[in-house]
């Protein structure tokens, strides 16, 4: 299932709307194009917000994992 390497893990736990999307937009540039960032968040709104943000900004959400009390989102920088 996971055939990509995570370049960076970012901890957004405890942040609420709009901060997770604001932060990923600021930090996507810290990895190279083609690299994957693993985001940890507790904000349920991010489940919808990250795909919307990615679609608008031209990046990809590779995977979303939901664990008790934690959501992991894998974002690939595509440009």
């Amino acid at each position: 299932m996971a055939d990509y390497a995570v370049a960076k893990t970012l901890d957004y736990k405890g942040l609420a709307c709009p901060m997770p999307v604001v932060k990923i937009s600021q930090q996507i540039g810290t990895v190279a194009v083609g690299e994957v960032i693993e985001v940890h968040t507790t904000d349920p709104g991010s489940l919808a917000d990250f795909p919307a943000w990615a679609k608008t900004m031209g990046h990809a959400i590779l995977e979303t994992k939901q664990e008790p009390g934690l959501i992991k989102i894998f974002v690939k920088r595509q440009k």
Partner: protein
């Protein structure tokens, strides 16, 4: 019969580029002076900026009070100006809810809840907005009517006084226009 495809495409492109609302921009008029409405406005503004949009805010009427700096003193106001100055909230942290304010209790409860759930406060949202180059315009007429001066406004990276035409020019070329 054949058409010159390249020319046709160039013509269409020229037309599309001139369409109103073509720019990836959001213009919002903030007329309200309520805390809930300002929170919504700033969350939308910072969210839009995070999604790559240019964001322009236009504070007018009751909204201008939110831009007052709590620690700045301004002299030379007329009597009416001083009255307005006393009656209007002195800055964004003095705004109250549009409903269920309950003499200030509702506002205090909401602020407490927000802090507990780590929801961004107006202070944090303004910080982020500044970092994301959200532009703030203040309505000159509102300031004039209510006796407010530019010197008493907050320090913000991109804040300018203007009139309605400036706002409309931005609104016309924006993909999204909001009024709160």
């Amino acid at each position: 019969m054949s058409i010159d495809v390249d020319k046709a495409i160039a013509d269409i492109k020229a037309k599309v580029d001139c369409l109103p609302g073509a720019e990836n921009k959001l213009t919002m008029v903030v007329l309200s002076g309520d805390l809930d409405k300002h929170l919504a406005a700033m969350i939308i503004a910072t969210g839009a900026a995070a999604m790559g949009m240019k964001v322009v805010l236009f504070f007018t009427f009751w909204g201008t009070a939110a831009l007052r700096a709590p620690n700045k003193k301004v002299n030379g106001k007329t009597f009416m100006g001083k009255m307005f100055g006393m009656m209007l909230p002195k800055g964004r942290n003095k705004l109250t809810l549009s409903q269920m304010n309950m003499g200030g209790m509702g506002t205090a409860m909401l602020k407490g809840l927000m802090k507990k759930k780590n929801v961004a406060s107006l202070d944090q949202l303004y910080d982020v907005a500044g970092q994301l180059a959200v532009k703030i315009y203040v309505c000159e007429m509102s300031m004039d009517l209510m006796g407010m001066k530019k010197e008493e406004m907050i320090d913000y990276p991109d804040l300018e006084v203007c009139g309605v035409a400036t706002m409309l020019a931005h609104a016309k070329e924006s993909a999204i226009q909001f009024f709160i």
